[in-house]
Amino acid sequence: MTATITDKKVLMKGNYAIANAAVLAGCQCYFGYPITPQSEIGEFMSGKMQELGRAYVSAESELAAINMTIGACSTGVKAMTSSSSCAVALMQEGLSYAASDQLPVVLISVMRGGPGLGNIYPSQGDYFQATRGGGNGDYKLIVLAPSTVQECADLTYKAFYLAQKYRNPTVLLADGLLGQMMEPVQFKEYPYPEIDNSDWKLTGAKGRDARIIRSYAPLADNQCVYLEKLFAKYKQIEENETEWEEIGTEDADIVLVSFGSTARNAKTAAKICRQRGLKVGILRPITLFPFPTKRLQELSAKVKMIISVEVNMGQMIQDVKLAVNGKVPVRLIKKPVGAPPSPEEIVSQIEELI
């Protein structure tokens, strides 16, 4: 199902919305290996990229897919790969290299159950995988978490933009629910400026010195300087790009923190709480790195409790606790894997916690 830039809404699965948006964002190369629940992305790309004369490779593994993406990105074109959980695990080496090489790799990570093979149901069990990374060394990935199919499209645009702007691998962290659900979506024109990359991309050393994109740093002192520079960039990303949505927090006693598909249910839960006279608000991080730490710090000075609502055993809650720093109690409402806890379940757990 293809969509063009149009005023009309189309009903589309999250996976297709992501793939469509990637094409409209100017993604020139797609490399991937199938895995449920994101296979629609590769299926769509296989047809569309060939139709447009762009690059598509059915990679032999996720190891190959991420490294093909790195290769393409090193030439300055927009390129992406997509995968899920246990297969994103295979990409961690590449992501560490891409972070060190400062290459604008875009990875669509559609989470499923884990650990190990787990299952194909929705999950948020890869919050750590995305924000902490499984690759070696000190690095950060920019992580965007859509909550609707419209955001699947809009944040795919943004993922390409931020990846280019900061020369940093960027993850769109969706989940099986968002990937498989349909919702009306509208494709606007790619709203971001194109970033000039003429000073670093590999094009062949014509009329200039050869460029080397590498992470090998044989001298420890150089590596110290390099890492400080890298982290200065991350600081800049934190200052400029932290994004979140906030509803009903002005007078809230309790703030729910929830991202992605789970935030949909948490929002409804907050609404039900209000109807029952409980002053509950919600903060939905849209960027997981950078995390809205500052805003949570501010909120923790005036609320009575903060509750992290997640579909995992409690991962984002660590970032929430770091932000709140003991000022108010931080609690967890969770479901280990599968569809998010229903709004009613969330409400009853809130009532138990207070």
Partner: protein, 182 residues
Amino acid sequence: MEKDFIIAGFGGQGVLLAGEVLANGFMIDDKNVTWYPSYGAEMRGGTVNCTVVMSEEEVGAVQKTSADFIIVLNQASFDKYVSWVKKGGSIIVNSSLAVIKKTREDINYIFVPITKLAQDKLGNIKMSNILALGALSKVSKLISLETLEKALHNVIPARRANLIPKNIEALKLGYEYDLLKV
């Protein structure tokens, strides 16, 4: 106001497609809407269902354990989902493939011999899913036949456009089920 719909049946009965047409219809009517399938290691002949949520406001949860309107196209789905119908809600039952039996007083049962109608009147049991939507239009009063017709154009790809007239017939047949002596 939020209304929840579940459509369930055998894999191959067009359950997911019917949901997609319904969700497209609500989109055409400018409602907020979500469609969510049962997904997993599905196989042809296994059971399958999808949930459509329509609302004037932003849709929260997309997966439900109860619904205002449920369409069941086979016995197994009838058995499973009858308890999911909200009080005062309706269940549309394909009586060609499920035994007519009422176990609840607080919901409306609409028995329609969907498969038989599709076979006898349209000569194609594959029209069952769309026929069921016609019945839903009548029962729910939440979506018009005209809108569903437009939705069919959204869902059926251009290269299969020849199937649209027959599907429109199916919609009408489902809508008029109660006028037919079957």
